[in-house]
Amino acid sequence: MGFIWFWLVAVTIVGYVVLDGFDLGVGVLHLFLAHTEPERRAMLASIGPVWDGNEVWLLAGGGTLYFAFPLLYASAFSGFYLPLMMVLWLLILRGVSLELRNHIEVGVWRALLDGLFGLSSTLLTIFFGAALANVLRGVPLQADGYFFLPLWTNWKPGLHPGILDWYTVIGGLVALVALTLHGALWLTIKVSGALAQRARNLVSPLWVLLVALTLVSLAATIAVRPLSLNNYYEYPVTFIVPVCVVASLAAIWFLNRNAHPVKAFLSSCVYLFLMLAGACWGLYPTVLPATTGADRDITVLSSISGPHTLAVGLAWWSFGMALAIGYVVFVYNKFRGKVDVGNGGH
């Protein structure tokens, strides 16, 4: 049961990153990629009907974490108190600025909301990357299973790190670049004309940056937490994951150059999925490592809910998520094709 629920939570959160990732990326890009108001509207219209549904994956992931691993949820959410609250503020600003800009016709207010949307999207990608890096690096867990992290200490991973140190900053940058690239690829599918061309041209420099950062982050992770490789050595077949990460990166490059936007975007989905799944596999069965000694690690076994809760949960969860995937397919299908801003509709 522990193994199953570990992966159910992981896949839900990865689903969030893959889906909300592209609309975050569009948010990062829209300030400087769009040159005119219709172009900006086209970019925003490409995510208008779906961003809210994408964000639900975060809530579903949080809720699933809450009931399947209550100790982990309680410890991590209270320990990461300050950055989580800031993530909430950013999510609030982002949702409001995206939805309301079209209800306001005055230029100054629109410019303000656009700026807020771009800024909050950018910061969110960095926060999410840094959050994952915090989990991989570990936190100073006390004997009672709790901790509290300041925003920064000496910028070094160690016994008493802060939320931000050199390692988690790298994590933040990887996320920023990966999701910006993801957003650019989405735009090559959804928008047309000069804007689509600009998005496509941006892919190459972002790709080079991402390859470099991916390698740096892999090396840094192994340096900060050498144990990450244990599962891979124990089950060498799983080395297929990093191999496929490289393959998906290569695919993004070639498919974008040969103008296969949908396939290039899907390769980026695969890249994100494998990077995160690979990181989770490096962690398992630990779910939150302790910098204060491995005996304090929070593991799947030490944090999982009771057997009846999990058995019942598995039944409704599978049913509900199957429905959810059905809605996702239905909505994306209804809004497929390039956005059309001519008639004012999305």
């Binding site: 809210d52 209550p70 209270s78 609250m85 999510l91 016709e105 809605y327």
Partner: protein
């Protein structure tokens, strides 16, 4: 300033602000289905425009509900870690189910409803409206299930490590407390929706503009308002109140300001509870009424606070008393106003009765206050427990989060929500003053987004 107080204020402030939005979402969701159904049956463009107009307001309102709702799920972990650690196996379920069963549904169909009218058949667009309504009501159900378990824990067991575990999934979902509270709460949401719609109609009629829509909104608002304001008292309020009296007698005593156990207890209409003297100052009392309302006989004994040790009294007694009385007092006003309005509507006089239209217009904030006061009654009445009878609130907050950090983020939320409140008011007022009729083609293109 204690950490417990800060964490309570943090949750109370963010949930109170949040619930200003879902109550309209849930009430209006139902009314939009009514508008769309009439449009579908009659093929009337006017009713479709009305549905689009309320859809735009719904959309703005929905966004504020979503963005202020996300923090709520997080705050269980950030601010109430010790509570979540023990109770996650139980109440984490309905919270996760809300996301899985409601939010996916709601967000998918709201996208279709707001942006997809050109891409969908008429029938499919109506269906999207129904699904948005259903999604929002499912969402309300799971939140009530969560709260009901904290109010009246059922179907649980304790694991050796102290964690609560569900023993019966269906008993958890069908907790009798939850079903009663759900009926009462959703009726309250319909009241908010009805009053907002009626007030908008009254505004148009009083301004002498858009008479057609003014009449439509007043009519739909008053009919739905009459049904819901009666149902909020009887049967839902009556049944829920009796259930509280039996299962949380200390809460009921606090709500009514009943310090001493009495046979034939009177009902205090107004007054100020005095915890030092154990009396109500400046009381206006209806003799025997409380016994009658709870037990159906004027002579029944009602337990007062004197039956309970002081450490089990609701911790904010005067506030509990006032919250309950504000809710009940406003509920009475709602019935009066809606009965008079419905009578005039039936006689064909309402659209010219300016005094009643003014009353309808000015009453639109009151359901928000009543719904808020109702929730304060429920949650303050539960104190000093976070899980009634099982776990105290003082044992539930995150003790790794200091007073200072809690205050920092509370102030942050206050500033941010002030901004949101202003923005929301401006945007909705603009929509209402622009009205349902499309403007020029260009302006229509902008506002149709």
């Amino acid at each position: 300033m204690t950490a417990e107080l800060i964490h309570r204020l943090h949750f109370a402030f963010t949930i109170t602000f949040h619930y200003l939005f879902p109550q309209l979402t849930m009430g209006l969701g139902l009314l939009i289905v009514v508008l769309k159904s009439v449009a579908l049956r009659t093929g009337s463009e006017q009713w479709d425009r009305a549905a689009r107009f309320w859809g735009r307001i719904f959309g703005i309102n929905f966004v504020f509900g979503v963005v202020t709702g996300i923090p709520m799920e997080f705050e269980f972990g950030t601010n109430w870690a010790r509570f979540s650690r023990l109770s996650g196996g139980v109440i984490g379920q309905p919270l996760a189910m809300e996301g899985v069963f409601s939010f996916f549904l709601e967000s998918a169909f709201l996208g279709l409803f707001l942006y997809g009218e050109g891409r969908l058949s008429k029938w499919m667009h109506w269906f999207s409206a129904v699904m948005v309504f259903v999604g929002s009501w499912i969402s309300g159900f799971f939140i009530i299930v969560t709260d009901a378990w904290m109010q009246h824990p059922v179907a649980y067991d304790r694991l050796p490590n102290g964690q609560f575990e569900v023993v019966s999934f269906w008993q958890l979902l069908l907790n009798p407390w939850g079903l009663l509270q759900y009926a009462h709460n959703m009726t309250g949401a319909v009241i908010t929706g009805s009053f907002v719609m009626a007030a908008t109609g009254a505004f148009y009629l009083l301004e002498g503009r858009r008479q057609d829509y003014g009449r439509m909104f007043v009519k739909v608002g008053v009919i739905a308002g009459l049904a819901s304001t009666i149902a909020i008292i009887f049967p839902t309020g009556d049944m829920h109140g009796k259930y509280v009296a039996r299962n949380q007698p200390a809460a009921m005593a606090g709500m009514e300001g009943l310090f001493k156990t009495e046979d034939g207890a009177g009902m205090v209409l107004i007054g100020q509870p005095n915890e030092e003297t154990g009396l109500i100052d400046n009381p206006i009392v209806v003799n025997d009424a409380l016994s009658f309302l709870i037990y159906g006989t004027t002579k029944a004994e009602v337990k007062g606070l004197d039956q309970f040790p002081k450490d089990q009294w609701p911790t904010a007694l005067p506030l509990l008393f006032y919250a309950y009385h504000i809710m009940a007092g406003l509920g009475t006003w709602f019935v009066l106003l809606m009965v008079v309005s419905a009578f005039l509507l039936w006689r064909g006089l309402l659209y010219e009765s300016r005094w009643v239209l003014w009353a309808l217009l000015l009453s639109f904030p009151l359901p928000y206050i009543a719904n808020t006061a109702g929730w304060m009654t429920a949650e303050l009445g539960r104190q000093p427990w976070i899980i009634y009878g099982l776990m105290r609130t003082s044992e539930g907050y995150s003790n790794t989060v200091s007073v200072s950090n809690g205050l920092f983020t509370l102030l942050g939320f206050m500033g941010l929500y002030l901004l949101l409140g202003v923005l929301f008011t401006v945007l909705v007022y603009r929509e209402i003053s622009n009205g349902p009729e499309p403007k020029t083609i260009e302006a229509q293109a902008i506002s149709a987004d």
